[in-house]
């Protein structure tokens, strides 16, 4: 009994690390640029396909392709902010919501056209390896993904708190007008925020590849998790998003264990609706 619970919690925490990368990206964009990126999941998908093709064509290990997917998606993020999102920033919600939503639809369906709906997998030497500790089963690929995800989250936190650019981003998140008065160039800060957020999504994609299949719709699972985590962990709060993501992973995993294999997502939605019902400002508690 105890071991099944512990195993479910560990499975949840491991996948929760990936959710964290996605939701930290969503919450960073929301905090700094004040828009919700509906396409965040599609960038995870792109990260996965980058890793898949590098592994397939050149035999590059998916974990090494992190060094390709992250910079590529950083540049994509900067371009998207500069050429698309910048044009719809304003008091009106509609264009902001539906621009990134259209982007999500576009990327998903382009992937469907180019790569078909087939599932793509990469088999690495460590894909089937696992540690057995005290009766618990810990797959190596998932453990690596979790550790790298936590390291990247930590690096982002350090970046936001120690560098000038990071501080400028936090300032812009707190009060855009005052930050501009202090000489912070908002578009530059927004470009970096988008770049970092997309690079994190790309990292999530590469880290997933050794143990998860790539297909055009793969991002939707992750982005739904991320939205729920971001709402639960107080909008725009990086640490909140991280903790909520790990909780979501555990909740999903316990749902699969005790409600049924197809019920992970149902448990997550139930959590979201409960959060909205009883703590609509998120676990952190600051009102929007």
């Amino acid at each position: 009994m105890f071991e099944t619970v512990a195993q479910a919690v560990i499975n949840g925490l491991l996948i929760g690390g990936i959710y964290a990368l996605v939701s930290i990206g969503v919450t960073l964009i929301f905090g700094v640029v004040k828009i919700v990126n509906f396409a965040q999941g599609e960038f995870v998908m792109i990260g996965m396909y980058i890793s898949f093709f590098l592994a397939n064509q050149f035999g590059i290990d998916p974990l090494l392709s992190l060094f390709v997917s992250m910079p590529v998606l950083f540049v994509v993020g900067v371009l998207i902010q500069h050429f698309l999102i910048r044009r719809v920033l304003g008091p009106n919600d509609m264009p902001q919501i539906f621009l990134t939503f259209a982007l999500s639809l576009l990327l998903l369906n382009l992937a469907l056209m180019l790569f078909t709906a087939n599932y793509r997998t990469v088999h690495t030497s460590y894909s089937d390896e696992a540690f057995h500790i005290a009766g618990l089963y810990i797959p190596v690929a998932k453990l690596i993904a979790f550790v790298v995800a936590m390291a990247l989250s930590g690096a982002l936190w350090a970046f936001l708190h120690t560098t000038d650019l990071g501080k400028a981003m936090r300032a812009a998140a707190q009060n855009r007008d005052v930050a501009m008065l202090m000489g912070i160039n908002p578009n530059r800060v927004f470009c970096v925020a988008l770049g970092i957020a997309l690079a994190l999504a790309g990292a999530a994609g590469s880290l997933l590849m050794p143990f998860y299949s790539a297909y055009p719709f793969v991002g939707q699972v992750f982005v739904l998790m991320a939205f729920v985590a971001v709402v639960m962990g107080t909008l725009g709060n990086v640490i909140g998003a991280l903790i909520a993501s790990l909780l979501m992973g555990v909740a999903e995993s316990l749902g699969i264990q005790y409600v049924g294999a197809d019920s992970g997502l149902l448990v997550v939605f139930a959590l979201l609706l409960l959060t909205l019902a009883f703590k609509p400002t998120g676990l952190g508690g600051k009102a929007r």
């Binding site: 919700v36 919501i97 621009l99 259209a102 576009l106 909205l276």
Partner: protein
Amino acid sequence: MTTRSLQGRSLALLAIGIAVLIVLPLAVRSSFAIDIFIRILLFSFIGTAWNLMGGYAKQLSLGHAAYFGLGAYTSTILQIDFGISPWIGMIAGGGVAMLASLPIGWLCFRLRGPYFTIATIATAQALMLIFLKFRDLAWGAEGTTIPNLGNAPLMMQFESKAAYYYVVLGLLALGLAITNLIERSWMGYYLVAIGEDEDAAEAIGVNAPKIKRDIYLISAFLTALAGTFYIQYIYFIDPPTAFSFNISIEAALVSIVGGIGTLWGPVIGTILLETTSTLLQSWLGSSIGGVQLTVYSLILMAVILWRPTGLMGMIGEVRQRFFIRKPARA
């Protein structure tokens, strides 16, 4: 003077339009073409229902599939398990959707802007998962076919496609009539005020939560009617069909492309999108997945970046140019 003649002109246009729409299935015999007309009318109607809340009050829902599905399932369960006509089931489905909109609205309206949108997605997806998971509720993931009774107008089953055409034409007329009534009433102005700036609207005494709840009730009711009709038309129901995310997407898309918060926007948007999609399918064949939504998303992006007022806005600009020049000449 100008406004009066304008009104006469639009009334005449409307009468001609109605006449053409009524004669259309008699003139066009091809069932392929009538099928496309039915799709256009159906999505115009769904878009009209969405537009009441999403367009006028700017509560941008991407979860209207919830009500589409509830309407579809209510009438189907009543029909198959209790032998009740879908005509009654349709109204009952509308009622169920209205009931469901109360708790869903209570939850989702706690959030604003994009997070409202996400909450609506989650509720629709959760409903689909519930219908997939609990087999006792309604056939689970397998779904069920609707028993074919041949020509049974009282059970909303017809042999000719033209009859379905008239049913959905009637629904669209209902949706447009309701929109027209609301647009001209105090409620329409309150909705637009909420859409412009909710806090400011509340500050001048608009009871925003109540107005939003009421318009959500109406919007949910109408969407549910579309669900019943669609399932009767395709003779099959399962959770991914009834609660399809594509329904939620297209409801919003046709309204935005056509012109958000305008009476005719959803209709014009649907005509453009469905025609494009049909042409694409006849050129490329339907073998390549994703073509339709790729094109839809490109159109949506173009509208957002260059014409946020949609096609209605463009028509308005053209008309204005035309009418500003005219009095100057006279």
